[in-house]
């Protein structure tokens, strides 16, 4: 069924409906605007859970939704990051168990999403991650120990967002999507070629800020790729209690942007879909929405008890779809990966794990005066007074021989 894209049968559609990529797809493939904006009938999947490349006809691609296979170099780089990501996840979980870190929301099982999110971006681009996206943050180049500062509890964020163009890992759900929109908007106004990847989870799509961010990005026609990791749970709440839409990617059409869904455990498909989305955005398509179907293999965080709300059998099902081993099988089968390379990669991963163990093992002293130092660029007399009060208190404690507790 062909459906016109007009607001009414009489008025001409709004400007962006005629924007290049949409118009081109409509012309080229004889599809409708809705066909372009709605996700393809099936999720995009290129490598099946067994590690076999699927035939073109079964990858879920369609006219206007076509995705060439990424190049070998990119795939190998992705594999390396996958192995590192898995190692980082497991190392951090261990550090939490050992009491060296307070909390760690692991992306175990979601490493393909993490890696693709980092690799699809160029240096000048921006990423806006959540608390769960530490592996993506590190894959973008941020120092592992600095990344973990938040979870160790020394400070709210340990890295400089400007250095790698990575927003600080955000806790208030979906609020960061609007910051992504603002960064893209500023870049666009200056005529810069920046693409912004804005990340959130399936649960987060229910928040009002999700709606406002997608709409702002669409109306201002900004180069933002919204990337939803649908890992099927928001803490204990399963997807079915979060949304009854045909898919989360179906939300895109309601903002006048294109949506797509992709196998979130298939890093090959993820790279194909995200690379194209980033390219389209950079070329002026306006924003896009990509939903990755994946699974949170572990509890929400170490403080959570997942046995209260889901069956082991469900977890086991997803274990068979593991993104790391799948990619290994695929690359080995294609002759792109041999034991030697694999060993070298494992060594790299181990080096990072060591850096995490060492870095988080150190007991970095905190400075109480940091409480006051960074509240404002230009401090208030009130804060200077309070700072002096604390200094005095600590000095008295010190001199009375007690020391800080």
């Amino acid at each position: 069924m062909t459906i016109s894209a007009n607001h009414t049968a009489h008025d001409p559609g709004p400007q962006t409906v005629n924007a290049d990529p949409v118009a081109e797809a409509v012309r080229k493939f004889g599809i409708t605007v809705e066909d372009y904006m709605l996700p393809a009938r099936h999720q995009i999947q290129m490598v099946d859970p067994g590690g076999r490349l699927k035939p073109d006809s079964e990858q879920g691609t369609e006219p206007g939704h076509e995705y060439p296979l990424p190049g070998a170099e990119e795939l190998l780089a992705a594999y390396e990051q996958l192995v590192i990501g898995r190692r980082v996840n497991d190392q951090n979980s261990a550090l939490v168990r050992q009491g060296r870190m307070a909390v760690y929301p692991s992306s175990h099982g979601q490493e393909a999403c993490q890696v693709a999110a980092a690799l699809c971006l160029s240096e000048g681009d921006w990423m806006f991650p959540t608390y769960r996206d530490s592996v993506a943050v590190m894959a973008r180049g941020v120092d592992p120990v600095q990344t973990m500062t938040l979870f160790r509890g020394d400070w709210h964020s340990g890295y400089d967002p400007m250095k790698h163009r990575v927003g600080i890992q955000c806790t208030p759900l979906t609020t960061q999507l609007l910051h992504a929109v603002g960064v893209a908007h500023a870049a666009k106004l200056r005529g810069e070629n920046t693409v912004v990847l804005a990340m959130c989870g399936d649960g987060a799509t229910s928040e009002g800020d999700f709606h406002e961010a997608l709409n702002f990005a669409a109306v201002f026609h900004l180069p933002v790729v919204f990337f939803v990791q649908n890992n099927k749970y928001a803490i204990s709440v399963p997807l079915a209690h979060q949304s009854v839409a045909p898919s989360l990617a179906h939300k895109a059409v309601g903002y006048g942007m294109a949506g797509e869904r992709v196998d979130g455990n298939d890093v090959v498909a993820l790279l194909a879909v995200l690379d194209r989305a980033v390219k389209l955005a950079r070329d002026g398509s306006g924003p896009l929405l990509v939903e990755a179907n994946t699974y949170r293999m572990q509890a929400h965080t170490n403080a959570d008890d997942a046995t209260r709300y889901r069956q082991d059998s469900e977890v086991a099902e997803w274990l068979a779809k593991d993104p790391v081993s799948r990619m290994k099988t695929y690359l080995t089968g294609r002759g792109l990966l041999d034991d030697e390379t694999d060993f070298r990669i494992a060594e790299k991963a181990e080096a990072i794990a060591t850096r995490l163990r060492d870095g988080l093992g150190e007991d970095v002293p905190v400075d109480p005066q940091d409480l006051f130092r960074h509240v404002f660029a230009s401090p208030t007399p009130q804060l200077l007074e309070q700072s002096a009060m604390l200094a005095d208190e600590l000095a008295r404690e010190e001199s009375s021989g007690e020391g800080a507790k």
Binding site: N302, A303, L371
Partner: protein
Amino acid sequence: MSPTVTTSSEANGNVSAATARAAASAAATAEAEGPQPVTMAKALNTAMADAMQADPSVLVFGEDVGMLGGVFRITDGLTKTFGEQRCFDTPLAESGIVGMAVGMAMNGMRPVIEMQFDAFAYPAFEQIVSHVAKMHNRTKGALKLPLVIRVPYAGGIGGVEHHCDSSESYYAHTAGLKVFTPATVADGYRMLREAIDSDDPVMFMEPKKLYWSKDMVDLEELREQHSANVAAGTSSEGRAAVARPGTDATLIAYGPSVPTALAAAAAAAEEGRSLEVIDVRTIVPFDDETVSASVRKTGRAVVIAEAHGFASVSSEIVARIQERCFHYLAAPIRRVTGFDVPYPAPKLEHYYLPSVDRILDAVDDLQWED
């Protein structure tokens, strides 16, 4: 007419979020007879269960409150006992939760909703300020809004940012909201039952670091007391408690700061100074009578709260005391509050929080020499 308000509490230290599991099992234990060690978590859980038992229009919903029993396990077992229609999870959207609760309260229900953490109630701020607080007034009372918004608040649990805000001042400043905050296990039960019974919307601020504090409490007795109060038409709303009597100066605290104030009073006693500790209990309505009576007696006061001091509930308490007890005051009223800085990361929160030492310093400053 005023019911008896007794309080007792243990000062308790920081607890990690991981101990939620322990709280859960505590909440699940069967009720024994007579006074028992009971956690605040258990008292709150029991209060909801009893209210749901008593009135089918009482509903509980929010994020993760169903099968999981809430991230703090305060709603543990309610879905199992009362079914998914009475206690259920919502999509992840706080404005949605509060807004839907407003509609339900308009239409005959008594929703008790959970905001997962203090800072995650902010998305619902418009619904709370522009509707929850105003619905009764703007309809000249035609619409009552019996609605309880439970907010686990304040710090001391080593949580990451946005998980430790003391947000009570925002609500206390909003005309049309009642604001309760229990500091003892018995009050956890008593005040939550009263909040649910109230025809007014109540912001029910739960000091999260006290969830696992235990007092010796007889839940059955509290239940009977509650029934007796309902029958008599009395309530402890608007009554502060004298948590510890004293004569030399008054410490005024609420919620998470009450155990700290009690600890300070105990320490002061060893040094020969007798401090009276007032537990405010309901910030709105505020018990001017009890507070003023104490300060008039002692002539000196320190107000203690975790929240930033600036333009806060603690400012209000100071202002009210100086308005009412001016000629009785021997020294300026001191405040011991959180600094005016964003709630710090776990490793620094110790420096932020009002401590026994900081309270004793403030007491020392009350111009005893004069």
